[in-house]
């Protein structure tokens, strides 16, 4: 594996070559007490791809995202992002490396406006401190204005949330909150975007909107996306590559088409007839 490289210098020298993968999850083991949540999961994510992670409930999909953004510390294995060993990075420094995420259960700051939530996503790219910010003249003010302009014209325009940008987040319906969470993640100017079930609980129209946003971000901004999703239609349509997890182990990784034909995957999802019936509670 490549030696540790500073994140800034890597962007110049990192074409999407297979030898230095964009994100490498290398033999991860994660345990909660006696429960093995992840046992020996490895996969690479290529730059510019939309990488889907699928699997039945409790397979360990969210655990992987939590390991990547350093909420969990795996007891074995390493995760490299552009050659940087993430286990040596403090949780709050992960954002500065260019990793952003959204959560399965919305984790927005509910008492703040949409605008403030998105501005918070910009936190690591801003510089004003408690003195310059409190006085609010010169640099701090021009920085606020610059960020405001950037957010309004890049993110709010892209996600079509102009009408709600001054609303308090807690008052918004679920579908819009999901969109605001994506907006906040985009404000972090990520290189890697981790999305944990962005379409969960959405109707068809909202799901299609969200899929379009993800494709836009991926293709126009060049952001690599790791996507956990249960909506197989979406996964098959937009992802370049799919990792399938079951009981904390990787059972397949391939293109969407190949994965859908894979016997292990069909068994994990549907099982034998009897297992399928018991899972569905019939």
């Amino acid at each position: 594996m490549a030696a540790e490289v500073k994140p800034g210098s890597m962007s110049k020298t990192a074409p999407p070559v297979n030898s230095t993968p964009f994100l490498r999850v290398d033999d991860i083991y994660l345990r909660f007490g006696g429960l093995n949540a992840l046992s020996g999961v490895s996969f690479d994510v290529q730059q510019g791809h939309i990488q889907a992670i699928i699997g039945p409930n409790g397979a360990g999909k969210t655990c992987i995202l939590n390991c990547i953004c350093r909420f969990y510390q795996p007891y074995r294995g390493t995760i490299y992002f552009q050659g940087v060993d993430l286990s040596k990075v403090a949780t709050h420094r992960v954002a500065a490396l260019g990793i952003a995420r959204s959560f399965q259960n919305i984790e927005l700051f509910k008492g703040m406006t949409v605008m403030d939530n998105i501005k918070l996503g910009h936190h690591v790219h801003m510089h004003s401190g408690f003195l310059s910010g409190g006085i609010y003249l010169g640099r701090a003010k021009s920085e606020e204005m610059r960020v405001r302009k950037e957010i309004e014209e890049r993110i709010i325009d892209l996600l079509e949330i102009e009408a709600i940008r001054k609303k308090v987040v807690g008052t918004l319906p679920y579908g819009l909150q999901k969109r605001v969470e994506l907006a906040r993640a985009l404000a972090m100017k990520p290189k890697l975007l981790l999305l944990d079930e962005p379409m969960a609980g959405m109707n068809l129209e909202e799901t299609e909107d969200m899929a379009r946003f993800i494709l836009d971000v991926n293709q126009e901004w060049g952001v690599t996306v790791v996507l956990i999703e249960h909506d197989m239609g979406v996964v098959m349509d937009i992802s370049d590559n799919v990792v399938v997890l079951d009981f904390g182990t990787k059972i397949a990784q391939d293109t969407p088409l190949e994965v859908s034909k894979n016997n292990h995957v069909i068994e994990a999802y549907l099982g034998s007839d009897a297992a399928a019936h018991s899972k569905l509670g019939l």
Binding site: H92, A96, A100, E107, F109, L120, H123, M126, S128, M188
Partner: protein
């Protein structure tokens, strides 16, 4: 926002006072505040109160309440030590003033000292939240209280410490009227500081730490740094309030800075409105003015029934407590929220559809 108001520049939208009317009203308020000492005498006689004195106290409390509001309202960390922190500021400023330091140096030094003490007691905030942090900061209150009372060589103990009046550029602020301007200036500065801080990067990070600290960490907010910074800034402000208090009262003793003051600060921002800049102002006004207003009928009644003064005096405390409880029940978001409701109502009046 009032309807029919459109902006073509982000700067315009960002202004605190967005309409001409608001600017006019603010100008009127500032002019009234600046000219107030001219007619304060008459006003005081009319009410039978020393109004300038009350306003000075309000201004000092506003600074302290803003400080605690930053910590509790914005960052979501309860402190029951702010009474003692105010004492640290008062004693530091007082001792330095007695050592011959000028006002403009002794006051900030008191603030910095308080910030250091506050940050020291704020270190447990990395691990403790909510009630647990309240208890930890209460320990700070008791330790500092004990030190103030018993370190007599430094603080003069319960006999008090005499502090000279503030003087700046050869002018001495030794009367209610002159101190009024000093306190007003500092209260306005503290308010502007809090307002601006709340709408920039640091203030947003504070609110993020309050609302969802895990999520805050994901977007790159260093939790420990911001928790500690919040304690520092908050203690600095309350230390400045303490220093001003020392210069105003000119004799300080440990009795001012007990647990009661800490609780009072907390009650101020809860009644005023947690996490609102107006909250500290409303809370300070409420807690200074209401006891005085309640004193008036109590005294009037005592004139008629002189023998039962004690009952009326204690009745006053009970009414005060009752009003605070009523506020918590009927307006838990504080006076600031009520203010916004009223304002929004009038914006649309009489066509409230």
């Amino acid at each position: 926002m009032p309807c029919g108001l459109f902006f073509s520049k982000y700067e315009k939208d960002d202004a605190i006072f967005k309409t001409v009317w608001l600017k006019c009203w603010m100008t009127v308020l500032v002019v009234l505040l600046l000219t107030f000492p001219l007619f304060s005498q008459k006003f005081s006689e009319m009410l039978g109160l020393n109004v300038t004195n009350l306003l000075n106290l309000i201004f000092v409390y506003i600074i302290g309440a803003h400080g605690l509001n930053l910590l509790t309202g914005y960052t979501g960390q309860i402190s029951l030590g702010h009474g003692a922190f105010m004492g640290v500021g008062a004693y530091t400023t007082g001792i330095l003033a007695n050592a011959g330091w000028p006002f403009w140096l002794a006051l900030p030094a008191g603030g910095v000292m308080t910030a250091a003490v506050g940050m020291l007691f704020g270190i447990p905030s990395l691990r403790l939240r909510g009630l647990y942090l309240a208890i930890a900061t209460m320990a700070a209150q008791f330790i500092l209280d004990y030190a103030m009372r018993n370190w007599t060589s430094l603080t003069g103990g319960s006999s008090g410490l005499i502090v000279p009046s503030a003087s700046l550029f050869g002018f001495t602020f030794d009367s209610d009227q002159s101190f009024y301007y000093l306190a007003l200036a500092f209260a306005i500065m503290a308010t502007m500081y809090l307002k601006n801080l709340a709408r920039t990067r640091t203030g947003r990070a504070f609110v993020a730490v309050r609302d969802r600290y895990l999520s805050a960490e994901v977007i790159g907010v260093n939790l420990f740094k911001y928790r500690l910074m919040s304690f520092g800034i908050s203690s600095f402000m309350v230390g400045i309030a303490g220093g001003l208090w020392a210069y105003y009262i000119t004799i300080i003793s440990d009795e001012h800075f007990t647990m009661w003051l800490s609780v009072q600060y907390l009650a101020m921002i809860i009644v005023g409105g947690l996490g609102h800049v107006l909250g500290g102002i409303f809370g300070a006004v409420f807690f200074v003015v209401l006891p005085e207003l309640l004193r008036l009928p109590a005294e009037a009644a005592t004139a008629v029934y002189p023998n039962i003064f004690g009952i009326f005096a204690s009745l006053r405390e009970m009414v005060f407590g009752l009003i605070v409880i009523m506020f918590l029940i009927f307006e838990p978001d504080g006076l600031a929220a009520r203010w916004h409701t009223v304002r929004n109502y009038w914006k649309l009046w009489p066509f409230s559809y």
